[in-house]
Symmetry: none
Subunit: 290 residues, 2 copies
DNA sequence: TGATTCGTGCAACAAATGTTTCATGGTCGT
DNA sequence: ACGACCATGAAACATTTGTTGCACGAATCA
C-alpha cells in the first residue's frame, strides 16, 4: 500500500492508530503522549512504565512502517531536534523584489527578535544579578558591536553604583585592567560568534584571578563561557538579515541592571535619586511641559 | 570556595572545564555544543563523531561529579525536558515576594519588550533607510543611555560605509559637528523622555542646516522630532522596571542598518567583505574549530 | 637523570539493549 | 464445533551499551 502522509512520525502514528490491535493502540498512545521519554529512555523502561510488553514497542514500530523501534525512535529524535539552523519558523520567505521587500525584511526581523526574547532564561539572570549585587567591584567588557551593550550596562549600573563599575580598557591600557581583577569582584563579558580574542582574554583573566565571571553569549560553547560562573544566553543569529542581532543581549543587560538595582534596595534608590538630582541641576534635560 | 550554581549540568560542566585535562576538555566542549545529541545518541556514537575515545566520556562524567556517563546523560535529559505546558501566556503572575519575585520581574520585562517590537512601524524604517541610502553623509547622535544605540548604529553602518558615517561629538567639540551639517546629509538623533538638551540641539541644527533629520524617539511629541523628516517610534516605558527600555530603539537601529545595507547592493556587500577580511587578517577573531 | 604520577588509547568485560522465536489463549469464519 | 488465524506475553538471542583494567608515553619532581 502506498501511504502518502510522510510528515511527522507522530502523525504517521496517529493516522495508523485506529487500525491497530488493541494492545498496540495502547502503547501507541503512550508513545504519542510521552514522545520525549520515547527518545531518551530505553524501550524496556517505557514498557515498564506503560505496563506493557517490550515486544509491543517493536511491533508498533513495524506496524507503522519502520524497520524497528530504533528506526522509529530515530525519527522521533530528529523531529524533536532543536533547530539551530532554521531561523525562519513557519514562514517561507519569498525574498520577492519590489518596494515591499524591505518592509517584509523588517517585519520578519522584528518578529524573530520578539520570539527570541522569551527564550532568555530569567532564572539565570536573577542568579547573575545576585552575583553582581555581592560583587565588590564590577568590570564590563564587550568588543565590536557588543561594545554598545557593554556601555549601556556600564551606564545603567553606574547610575546607582558609580564608583564600583568600570568598563574594561577605557581608562588606560587594557592589560592594566586585566591584571586588576580580584576575587570578590565580578567580570561581565559580552560576545557572540565570531568571538574576538580580546573578549576571550578578558574572560580568561577573570577566571584566572578568581573573580566571578558572567558571560553573555550566543552559545554555551562560546570560549568566554568556559569556567564562567554564570552564562546568559541570547540568540544572535535568530533574526534574518546580515548582521547578528543584539536585541537579546541588550534585553539581558537591561534586566540584569534592573534586578541588581532591585537587590540594592533603598541604598541603590538613594544613589539613583542623587544622580538624577545632579543631572537635573546641571540642566541636562529639557524642562518638562505641563 | 563556595560554589553556588548547582543549576544545570551544563553549567557544572562549564565551571569544571578549565581545570580538566586536555582531552577531557575537548569532549566536554563537544558535549556542551551538542547536548541534544548527547541525550539521544549513544556514547560510542558521540565518541566517533568527536574523534575521541569512548572512555573519555565516562571519565568526563566522573570528573565533574557524576557516577558515570549514564548519570550525566540523565541529568542532561532532565534539563532538556520540555516544560509540560506554558500556563504563563496570559500573564496572571502573582507578583509575590520571595526569591521568585526577581524572576517574575524579568519574565514580565521580556514579555513586554517582545510585545512592543511588532508595534514598530516597518514602513517608517524602510523610508528612513532609503533616506540614509541617498545621504552623502550620515551623522548619528545619542546621549546618556541612548549613546549605546547610537554607537551600535554607527558601528554597523561603518562596516560598509566607513568614511560617510560619523558619531556627533566624538572627534572634537560638538559644536564643530553641529556646524558641519549640510543639505543632502542625514542626521539621526536617538532619545526618549526625559530628553537631553544636547540631543535637541543636534536636531535643531540638522533642521536649520537643511539636512535630512531622522528621529528615533518614544513619542511623536518629542522635541527632537520637531521638523524631522522621519520619526521612528519605539516604546521605552512599556516594560516594567526602573529604567526605560532600549530594546525597541536597538531593534530599530539594527533594522535601519540592515535595510540600508540591503539598498547598497553589491557595492555595500563588497565593502563589508573587505572590512571583514581586514579584521580576519588582523586576527581579531578566535579561529573557528572544525 | 631517575622515579613517579598522570593522562590517554586499546581491548576485554558484564550488563542492558532491541529483536526474534515460541507457546498460549482468544476470535472469527465455515 | 473445529480449524485457521492473530494478538499477546515470556524467554532466549545476538548486539550494543557503558565501564574498567592495563600498558604505554609524557610531564613532574626530586
Amino acid at each position: 500500500m502506498v501511504v502518502s502522509a510522510k510528515s511527522s512520525p507522530l502523525s504517521e502514528l496517529r493516522i495508523a492508530l485506529p487500525s491497530l490491535p488493541l494492545r498496540l493502540q495502547e502503547v501507541g498512545r503512550f508513545v504519542a503522549a510521552n514522545d520525549y521519554d520515547a527518545t531518551t529512555r530505553s524501550m524496556r523502561d517505557l514498557a515498564a512504565e506503560a505496563g506493557a510488553d517490550p515486544a509491543a514497542f517493536t511491533r508498533l514500530a513495524k506496524a507503522i512502517g519502520y524497520s524497528g523501534w530504533d528506526a522509529l525512535r530515530a525519527a522521533l529524535t530528529e523531529a524533536r531536534r532543536p533547530s539551530p539552523a532554521s531561523p525562519f519558523s513557519g514562514r517561507a520567505r519569498s525574498r520577492r523584489e519590489g518596494p515591499n521587500a524591505d518592509v517584509a525584511l523588517i517585519t520578519d526581523k522584528l518578529e524573530a527578535e520578539a520570539a527570541g526574547l522569551p527564550r532568555i532564561s530569567a532564572h539565570a539572570i536573577a542568579d547573575a544579578a545576585r552575583a553582581l549585587h555581592d560583587a565588590k567591584r564590577i568590570w564590563i567588557a564587550g568588543y565590536r558591536s557588543c561594545r554598545s551593550v557593554a556601555e549601556l550596562l556600564n551606564y545603567e549600573l553606574r547610575l546607582f553604583r558609580p564608583e564600583q563599575v568600570q568598563l574594561v580598557g577605557v581608562s588606560g591600557p587594557e592589560d592594566l585592567d586585566l591584571g586588576a581583577f580580584r576575587p570578590g569582584e565580578a567580570v561581565i563579558v559580552i560576545g557572540f560568534m565570531p568571538y574576538t580574542n580580546a573578549s576571550v582574554r578578558v574572560a580568561q583573566a577573570a577566571y584566572g584571578a578568581g573573580a566571578t565571571l558572567i558571560a553573555v553569549a550566543d552559545s554555551i560553547a562560546a570560549p568566554m563561557a568556559e569556567g564562567a560562573d554564570h552564562v546568559l544566553l541570547f540568540e544572535a543569529a535568530s533574526s534574518p538579515g546580515f548582521f547578528p542581532s543584539l536585541t537579546g543581549a541588550l534585553a539581558i543587560a537591561q534586566s540584569l541592571a534592573a534586578v541588581t538595582f532591585s537587590l540594592g534596595g533603598t541604598a541603590a534608590k538613594k544613589r539613583l535619586e542623587e544622580t538624577e538630582a545632579r543631572l537635573a541641576a546641571a540642566s541636562t534635560y529639557v524642562a518638562e511641559k505641563g
